[in-house]
Assembly symmetry: C2
Homo-oligomer: 251 residues x 2
């Protein structure tokens, strides 16, 4: 079972869009997938078409010790979702519980069976939720958009990883996904080249191109495959799923 | 002195890009401006060309009670910046201090003189830093990008405001700024129309168009006015500054 956190404390780089569509792409390729919405804003949950005003999910798992099997919902063929849940925001504001609060997700995932991939959508911050994701994951997927602030965010994130992995003596495999990629922008190509220079062998091969249908589909509670199965977005995320399965990277 | 927080817990909607360029636009129009970087990621600070690896700023103000005048730097004519400071991330992780921790920025701003506008760039989350911004501000500027998740973020933010304002019996004036606006996308126009329906009289008149130079300028430590003074980005932010000064909204 591969457990991957989709993580970048920079906002709006496509963490949720990537989790939503990559999860469905993997399921369409026959992988058994569990997607987890770890963002109190519950955008992944909404993207799948689940009503966020009344749902319970990973909030009950982290705060009440519930089993994941109790709250996950089957959202597509071979694809389950553990929704964020309306109480998840409370988790970030609580201070009690001490050091073991960072291990709650890992503990809960240790009881999950019958899954090939677990994808965790993370919020744009580095608080207790991001910590739970990182400690529970053996791999991290870092979406990076093609601009300067994204690049800054990547550098800072790598610092945070070194810090935490050093402290806990735990190593995670990192993959970078180029997102919101404007093929004709010089800035996008410069950012990609910089990332390749710093992370050789870690950039997944397929960049996700900027395509409006990727921004439209969540508004209908659909993944790109239901909304516009022949679009660039669908093509790119299907290829990205292959890259992840086979470890295909840019040279 | 108008104190405005640039706020939206949704990531990547242009909070920093707006604070950077609107602050400079107002200063170019003769207003005396103080910009405050309240995001531990320090992107506003970097956008102005300040070295973020060694700076101190609002971190010292909030955590050590320092005066703003001690750490603000003059970055452009009529424009001061209070940098984030390298310790600002610690603020979000501390739990001591109780309820008065939300009022620290307001207290510090009460000692500021000789400014017409204070713009506070907020992080993409709703923790103690966002609370300080909201309690210190009489007005809020909410950048909203033209897509579904942005719209969700706006609805959620409005809920948070009602909650806090109700609890504290304090009202703030709200302005919406349409950002990253793709004029030809139906999705962008639909989002704009929805916002207008829910917030009549609150949407500032000039949408900020998606223009690559706005994404490029921070990489050079420049605002759009230094980087490409004749671009759409420069034109839009100059017009937005006028909208804000005169209260010009979409009908
Ligand atoms: N490849 C793409 N093409 C077009 N639009 C995209 C693409 N990827 C993401 N978007 C849009 O950009 C916005 C930001 O993406 P998304 O919400 O997935 O980022 P995020 O990193 O999860 O943001 P946050 O930090 O707020 O959680 C969304 O409205 C999304 O629909
Ligand atoms: N109008 C625009 N045209 C082109 N690019 C833009 C525009 N506005 C913002 N961007 C780019 O989009 C990215 C996100 O913008 P920005 O960092 O200002 O958003 P933010 O809301 O401050 O993000 P965060 O939530 O991470 O603080 C940046 O790389 C920025 O350069
Ligand atoms: Mg997200
Ligand atoms: Mg920002």
């Amino acid at each position: 079972m591969r457990v991957l956190s989709v993580m970048n404390q920079k906002g709006g780089v496509g963490k949720t869009t990537t989790t939503l569509n990559l999860a469905h792409a993997l399921a369409q390729k026959g992988q058994r997938v569990l997607a987890i919405d770890l963002d109190p804003q519950a955008h992944l949950t909404a993207g799948f078409g689940i009503d966020t005003r009344s749902s319970s999910g990973v909030d009950e798992v982290l705060m009440e010790g519930a089993a994941i099997s109790e709250y996950r919902v089957s959202v597509r063929d071979k694809l389950d979702l553990l929704p964020a849940g309306i109480r998840l925001g409370e988790m970030e504001h609580r201070a009690e519980g001490g050091a073991r609060r960072g291990w709650l997700l890992k503990e809960a995932l240790s009881r999950v069976r019958g899954k090939d991939y677990v994808l965790v959508d993370c919020p744009p911050s580095s608080g207790i939720l991001g910590m739970n994701a990182l400690l529970a994951s053996r791999e991290v997927l870092v979406p990076v958009a093609g601009d300067f602030f994204s690049l800054q965010g990547l550098a800072r994130l790598m610092n945070i990883f070194e810090h935490i992995e050093g402290a806990l003596n735990q190593k995670t495999d990192k993959w970078v996904v180029l997102t919101r990629f404007h093929e004709r922008r010089r800035l996008a190509r410069e950012v990609r080249d910089k990332i390749l220079a710093y992370f050789p062998g870690r950039v997944l091969r397929t960049p996700i191109r900027e395509t409006v249908s990727l921004a439209e589909s969540p508004g209908f509670g659909q993944t790109i495959f239901e909304y516009q199965g022949r679009s660039n977005g669908a093509e790119d995320y299907l290829a990205l799923a292959d890259d992840l399965i086979k470890g295909r990277v840019l040279k």
